[in-house]
Symmetry: C2
Subunit: 420 residues, 2 copies
C-alpha cells in the first residue's frame, strides 16, 4: 500500500515528516504562499507551499513536516511539502467540490455522480446508509437471525401483476423480483429467523420524489410469533440498532449534515387503523399522506416519539398473504411504521396454514395456480410467522432530511434515468 | 414471542418444566413408549410420551419436564409432555428429512427446496455461506472499507457483450449487471475503499456444475495501491476473516458436514503465470482446469498452502480495464486465487488514467463511445487502484466439498431452472 497517514491522524504526528495521499480538494493561491487542501477518506488536510499547485481533483501524494496550526483542518498542516502527482483530471468537476454548499441542480449531480459524490455533503448520506445497514445486521444477528440470498429473477410477479420488469430468460419470459417475500417466508421455514439486504425492482410508472425503479430492501422474517406485535418488537430492535450504528460509525457525516437522530422508545407507540381514522376524521380504507403527517405530529406531541406504529389496516388494502385479525374480521395483523410523517416500513403477520392461503386466494377471486411454487412452502408445515421490509433509501432520506430520495442514492434508477 | 427455550439450551433447564417449539423431525413409535424429536433453529430435542404423535414436519409446541438422559440429543429430554399442534403439513416432505444422508437426487432437492433445505445437511452449507459473508464484511470494515449498493439494471453490458440478460426498461432496452465493476471503481473514487455483496447475473448458455445465472458476488475495490500485490494482501485478509467467522459462527454446520477448513498463510504463495506454464509444460494463454489442479497440489506440497495466487496473466485474456505489468509488456497486473484446484477469485490492478483507457480500447479495436459513462470516472482524477470478486457459491462449494454449486445455493437459477 502507498505508505501514508490519513488526514484525520495528522495531528498525532506533529514534528514528524509524513506522507498523505488523496485528491486536491482546493487550491488557494495567495500572494506569497499557497494552500493545498487534500481530501482523503478520513477528511481534509492542508499543506503550505510557495510553488505551483495541481488542479482540483488531481490525485497527489504529499510528503512534509507536520506542523501544529490551530487554523488548519484537524489542527495541523504539512510544511515544506514535496508533491507527487499520481494522476490528473482531464476535465474539471461539474461544480466546485470544495464549496460547503452544493452549487448544482439534482440532475447535474446525478449525471456526474462519479465526481459529484466526492463532495462531502453528497457522500455523507451514503456513509449514513452504510452504517444503517451494518446496524440492521448486527441487531438481527444478536437475535439469532441468519442472512439469506434469494433469486432476483422469478417466474411470476410476487407482489402484484403491475410494476414488474420483464426479462428475457434464455428465451422464456421472467421477471425481476419486486420483493424477496416468498423466499424469505420459505427460509423462515428453514432457519426460523432470516434477513436479506438486497435490491428489489419496481417498474414505477410515476415520477415522484419517493419512488425508485431499484432500491435496497432490508427484509426480515421470523417464525414462532404470537402475532404481529412480536414482529413489531423485532423491528423496534432493528431500528434502534441502525441508529446506534449511525451514531458510532457515521458521526462525522451526521455532524456535517446537521442531521438530528431520533430516539427510539423502548416500546414504540401504536394505534389501530380505525382509531387513526377516527382521530383524523377520515373513513377511506387507507391513510393519506396528510393523515400520516398528522399522526406523526400527534405521536411526537402525545408520546414524544418520532416513530408510530399504525396497526390493523383493512385486509382489502393488504396483500393476500396477510394474516387477518382473529378478533376483528376485515382488519389485518398488518402494520406500517411511520417516521417523521411518512410510512417507512410495512410489515405484519402472514398466513401460515396451507388451507388459509387457498381460501384467501379464492376469496379474492384469484387462481391458486400461479402461486403453486409459493404455496408448496405451506404444504410442509409452517409456524406462525411475520416480517417486515425497510426501504433503505427512504430511511436515509428521512434521517438526513433529503427532500428527494435520489439525493441519497448513488446511482438512482427511475422512469427516465438508466445512467450513469 | 412464543415463550420457549431452544433445544440447544435444554440441558441447562434440568428439572424445570419448559416449552420448546419447532418441527416434528422424527417420530419413533416403540411398543410402550414413543419418541418425538423436535427440530428448531438450534438443533434437535427429544420428548418421551406414550400418546399419538403428529406427522413429520408438523409444527408443534411441547411443554414438559427437562430430564437428564445421556442418550438424548443434547443430553436431556422432555418427559410428561403436552403437545400443542401449531400447524400440520398437507403433504409429506419429498424425502425423509430425519435420515442423516439425503436420500434424494439433486433435481428432487431443488424442486422441493422449501422442504428439502430443512434437512440439516442441506441447511448447513447456507449457514457456512452466511458466516462467510459476515466475516468478509468484518475484515473489510476493520480495514476502513465502506459498503455500497450499486445498480443491477444497466444501459450496456459491463464485462463483455455476451452472457447478458436483456430487460425491458420502460420500453427501452437495458441489461442486468454482470458485475458491479464500473460502479465499484467509481465509488473507490469517492470512499477509496468499498465493498458490495450482491447478486450478479450471467446468461450462461452452458450447463455445468460451476455456473449459475445468478450468483452472489463479494466485490471489493481499493485505491492508493502500489500495484496488484496490495490488492492481494487485502484479499488475504478477507479470506482469513471469512474462515475465522465460519469457525466462530458456523461450527456445528462445519462439524455436521465434516468440512475441513484450510489455514491461510500470512502471505499466500504466488507464482507468475509464465512460471506456472513452465512448470506444467503448457503454453496456452490461459490455465486449463487440469493445470489449476496441478498447481494447487504443487502449492500444498511445496508451501503447505491450499491457496495459491497466479499473477501476471496475459493481457489478451484479461478485460480491457486491467493494468499491464510495467516491466513485462503483454502481461498484466491481474491475478487469480486458486483454492483446492479451482479458480476462486479474480482480481487485479486496474487502469486509472483516462488516456490509458482510451488507448486500451483503441488497441482492442473497440469504440470508446459505449463506455462514455464509465470513462467519465477517470476524467476526474483516480488513484492507482484495484480490486477483486469472490463468488460466494463457489467458495462455499469448495469449502464443503460439494461437487455441484447448486448443492450450496438455496434457489439456483440456470439455463433450465427458474423455479422455485
Amino acid at each position: 500500500m502507498i505508505s501514508r497517514v490519513l488526514s484525520a491522524e495528522l495531528a498525532e504526528h506533529a514534528g514528524q515528516r509524513v506522507t498523505i495521499a488523496g485528491w486536491v480538494h482546493r487550491r488557494r493561491l495567495l500572494k506569497s504562499v499557497s494552500f493545498l487542501v487534500v481530501r482523503d477518506r478520513s477528511g481534509l488536510a492542508q499543506a503550505v507551499t510557495a510553488g505551483d499547485l495541481p488542479a482540483e481533483e488531481s490525485v497527489v501524494q504529499v510528503t512534509g513536516r507536520v506542523t501544529v496550526n490551530p487554523q488548519a483542518p484537524g489542527g495541523a498542516e504539512l510544511t515544506e511539502p514535496e508533491i507527487e502527482l499520481l494522476s490528473r483530471p482531464v476535465e474539471p468537476p461539474p461544480f466546485d467540490l470544495f464549496r460547503p454548499v452544493v452549487a448544482a441542480t439534482l440532475p447535474t449531480v446525478l449525471d456526474h455522480a462519479p465526481a459529484a459524490l466526492r463532495h462531502p455533503a453528497l457522500r455523507a448520506p451514503l456513509e449514513i446508509s452504510a452504517a444503517s445497514v451494518a446496524g440492521f445486521r448486527a441487531a438481527l444477528d444478536r437475535l439469532g437471525f441468519t442472512e439469506v440470498h434469494t433469486p432476483k429473477i422469478v417466474a411470476s410477479a410476487t407482489e402484484s401483476g403491475a410494476n414488474v420488469f420483464g426479462i428475457d430468460y434464455f428465451g422464456r419470459p421472467a421477471y425481476l423480483a419486486q420483493s424477496p417475500q416468498f423466499y424469505k417466508q420459505a427460509m423462515a421455514g428453514v432457519f426460523e429467523r432470516v434477513y436479506e439486504v438486497g435490491p428489489v425492482f419496481r417498474a414505477e410508472p410515476h415520477d415522484t420524489v419517493r419512488h425508485l425503479a431499484q432500491y435496497t430492501s432490508l427484509d426480515a422474517e421470523l417464525g414462532f410469533v404470537r402475532d404481529h406485535r412480536d414482529v413489531m418488537a423485532v423491528l423496534r430492535e432493528a431500528v434502534a440498532g441502525m441508529l446506534e450504528s449511525v451514531r458510532e460509525r457515521a458521526a462525522p457525516a451526521v455532524a456535517l449534515l446537521g442531521a438530528e437522530l431520533p430516539g427510539v422508545p423502548e416500546e414504540i407507540p401504536a394505534i389501530h387503523f380505525t382509531e387513526a381514522q377516527r382521530m383524523t376524521g377520515e373513513d377511506e380504507p387507507d391513510l393519506s399522506p396528510a393523515q400520516e403527517r398528522w399522526l406523526s405530529e400527534w405521536a411526537l406531541k402525545e408520546h414524544g416519539s418520532e416513530f408510530l406504529f399504525v396497526t390493523g389496516y383493512p385486509m382489502a388494502k393488504r396483500p393476500f398473504y396477510t394474516h387477518p385479525d382473529p378478533g376483528r374480521p376485515g382488519y389485518s395483523n398488518g402494520f406500517d411504521l411511520l417516521f417523521r410523517g411518512l410510512e417507512l416500513v410495512t410489515g405484519g403477520q402472514r398466513l401460515h396454514r396451507h388451507q388459509d392461503y387457498l381460501d384467501a386466494l379464492a376469496a379474492r377471486g384469484e387462481s391458486a395456480e400461479p402461486y403453486e411454487g409459493y404455496l408448496r412452502t405451506f404444504a410442509y408445515g409452517m409456524p406462525p410467522h411475520g416480517g417486515f421490509a425497510i426501504g433503505l433509501e427512504r430511511w436515509t432520506a428521512r434521517l438526513t432530511g433529503a427532500a428527494n430520495i435520489r439525493q441519497v442514492t448513488a446511482f438512482p434508477r427511475d422512469l427516465h434515468r438508466l445512467t450513469p
